[in-house]
Subunit: 227 residues, 2 copies
């Protein structure tokens, strides 16, 4: 069956990486279209996601879907092989709960911990660690959040599995330590070792350079502010 | 089949109202447990939703589920009659997209439009109107967001169907006017006229009194600030 599957994304975005990973897990062939989200959004992106004007967008046989978690559920329902959600409604609800927790609590908390001004840093770090603690207890020694295989929560947590560790190297700030979060660090290692995950990730050195430039920018801003 | 279905909610919360409405639509009997979320959260609520410590929580045969949109999907998958989501994966994705839009964009925008300080009000009102405009174009003359019957998006939009109109009466600020948003106002009338919706709503006068007290509080705060 020939079908049109396109992903509008940005290299370095964990959100478009989620979509690519899910498609690869399902064995779905797709065309990737790189968007310049900072300076020059394409007319197609604006047409397909007029509400948020953001990546990622999945285009399937001419029909656009936006919002990464909505896209993941669509992928699950459209291509049934290699399920990323459990069948049981309660287990499914739990996966959805944790995916939302990742987006609504963890992501902003980790971002704030990395980039808050000095005087707000301590509180931000504390909040980020609380989130990681909650995730650690959710794993409870399981191989993946999804159990024995990569599921929706693992895919949603990709920004912890890869981005956070690169960010930590660039900033020198270690939130996710093996001492404090042994299960989560073990999950990270296991997750990024999966060949399908490896194939989906952006080049480490590009991400590192991006974060490093941001660190330098933040330091300049701070120096200028204190002048 | 005898089963335990309990809803932990708060009178006046559109989020617990969503859960009650969905259960009523499905014809599921449940026990409602009122929570004092401001001053005295019950040990049971803290036990069942340790991550967010918030209502609503649905307890089904001893298993707790939190987050209203997650609960609605669980209800849909557990009690199949009177579906609130379309079967088609694309239509389902659209419903999920709009439900998220309501929570992530509309709710904060409408709240800010009502309670922002004077000097930020104009921008907040503009943002809220943009959200309503987007919803208006989504309805496109349909009876409900779900088509001919009440669906997930209608249930999620309950804070516009009921809360917003009571809020407007209390503040005297009319965002949702029939002139600007004829389809949305028509939807509101249609929606709150459904007997099952009527049964789920909190008493109008209590909500009005709550908003009125908040208006008075906001005015006092402003007077004190300008002294």
């Amino acid at each position: 069956m020939s079908e049109e599957v396109k992903v509008f994304g940005t290299l370095g975005s964990p959100m478009s990486c989620r979509v690519e990973l899910a498609l690869k897990l399902k064995g779905v062939q797709y065309e990737y279209i790189e968007e310049d989200v900072h300076k020059n959004k394409s007319p197609l992106l604006l047409k397909y996601n007029p509400v948020h004007k953001k990546i990622p967008v999945l285009l399937h046989n001419g029909k656009p879907i936006a919002e990464s978690l909505v896209i993941l559920e669509y992928i699950e329902e459209t291509w049934k092989g290699n399920p990323i959600l459990p069948e049981d409604p309660y287990e499914k609800a739990m996966a959805r709960f944790w995916a939302r927790f990742l987006d609504e609590k963890c992501l902003p908390a980790l971002w704030n911990a990395a980039w808050s001004p000095e005087n707000e840093r301590e509180k931000a770090v504390e909040e980020a660690c609380d989130c990681l603690k909650t995730l650690e207890s959710t794993l409870k020694g399981k191989r993946f959040f999804g159990g024995d295989t990569v599921g929706l929560v693992d895919i949603a947590a990709i920004f912890i599995g890869f981005w956070l560790r690169v960010l930590q190297e660039a900033t020198g700030q270690e939130l996710l330590s093996a001492e404090k979060f042994p299960d989560l660090v073990k999950w990270t290692d296991e997750f990024v070792s999966c060949s399908v995950v490896k194939e989906s990730l952006p080049p480490r050195e590009r991400l590192w350079a991006f974060f490093k430039a941001r660190v330098a920018g933040a330091m300049d801003a701070q120096t200028n502010a204190s002048k």
